[in-house]
Amino acid sequence: MVNRAGTGTARPQPEAQAGRRGQLILAGSVAIAVAVLGAAVLLNAAMYTDSMASADRPRSVAAAERYEQTVENDLRRLVAETDGAAELRRNVTAYDERIALAAARSASASLEVELVGSSPSSYTFSFSFVTPRLDYRTTMTIARP
């Protein structure tokens, strides 16, 4: 170990001075060791909590994205199979009631789809997917066939 380093030098020195230097080296090395170990422990803990915190969050986000994709595909199909905005509104309401039950069952989420606008070339829908941890809202525009 380093604590003997002060005694084995080529040039003899007064006893007190060598002792003081040895002590200094000893204390310094212990301080450095503690600092390095402490830093390792702290960094390790920081990275661990970071990965734990981010591991769970995207699950509700992923569910929202999955439902958004499903709903968009279904709406596209509903638009293709429906004539006129009034009938589409009825069909979307009927669809919304059923898909909301599915979202409540599989993702404990409250899902809402609604026809909010129509233009000569497209329909606009609002989509919301709300869980206790996530409030996801977007609009979808689907071209008329």
């Binding site: 170990l37 499903t70 669809y95 059923r98 039950l101 599915a102």
Partner: protein, 188 residues
């Protein structure tokens, strides 16, 4: 000083210690997360390609089978095999061939008030163990979707339901929507 040194060494060694939840072969957290991701991916890919819907509609135009086309019986579905669809092939390759067990169950709405869910078992290998992972995907069935079994006789969902070939009912009779089903894949 010595106490500090011992404490630091102890903390450091505890950091590098791998803590496994169990020692009897149960799956640890990272593996479960990966498995859950894979199960979700399988369902998502199948849903995007339409194979999930086709698997849900994989019935024959028969009133006596009471289960999916070519399946063993309603209580186990295809049992130890996977359904003969692209989704089934993915389940087979990702899970069954690697020694995992799988339940694939379809839940569909029945038109009671309030609406309730009933299930049809595509693959059922029994009660999952505690470390099972679950993935779900919603699939909407439409009135003019047809059965996809090899002896489906091109029957649509409405026709099939009317003549008692499938247990899944039309829950939105005055709209193009037929039913909203949830596919649930359990892997352990």
């Amino acid at each position: 000083m010595a106490a500090l040194l011992v404490l630091a060494a102890l903390l450091f060694s505890m950091q590098s210690l791998v803590v496994t939840p169990t020692t009897d072969g149960a799956v640890d957290g990272a593996t479960r997360a990966e498995l859950r991701g894979q199960a979700g991916d399988v369902l998502t890919v199948a849903a995007d390609s339409g194979s999930l819907s086709r698997t849900v509609r994989y019935w024959n135009a028969s009133t006596v089978e009471r289960t999916f086309a070519g399946a063993v019986r309603p209580s186990v579905g295809y049992g130890e095999a996977a359904p003969p669809t692209p989704l089934g092939a993915m389940v087979e390759e990702r899970f069954l061939r690697r020694g995992y067990r799988v339940n694939l169950v379809v839940a569909y709405l029945v038109a009671t008030d309030p609406p309730q869910w009933e299930t049809a078992r595509v693959v059922y290998r029994g009660v999952p163990s505690e470390d099972a992972v679950v993935a779900t995907h919603t699939v909407t069935l439409f009135d003019d979707d047809g059965l996809t079994g090899p002896d489906s006789a091109n029957a649509t969902m409405v026709e099939a339901s009317r003549s008692g070939m499938i247990p899944i009912p039309d829950v939105a009779a005055d709209s193009p929507v037929y039913n909203v089903a949830e596919a649930r894949l359990v892997v352990w």
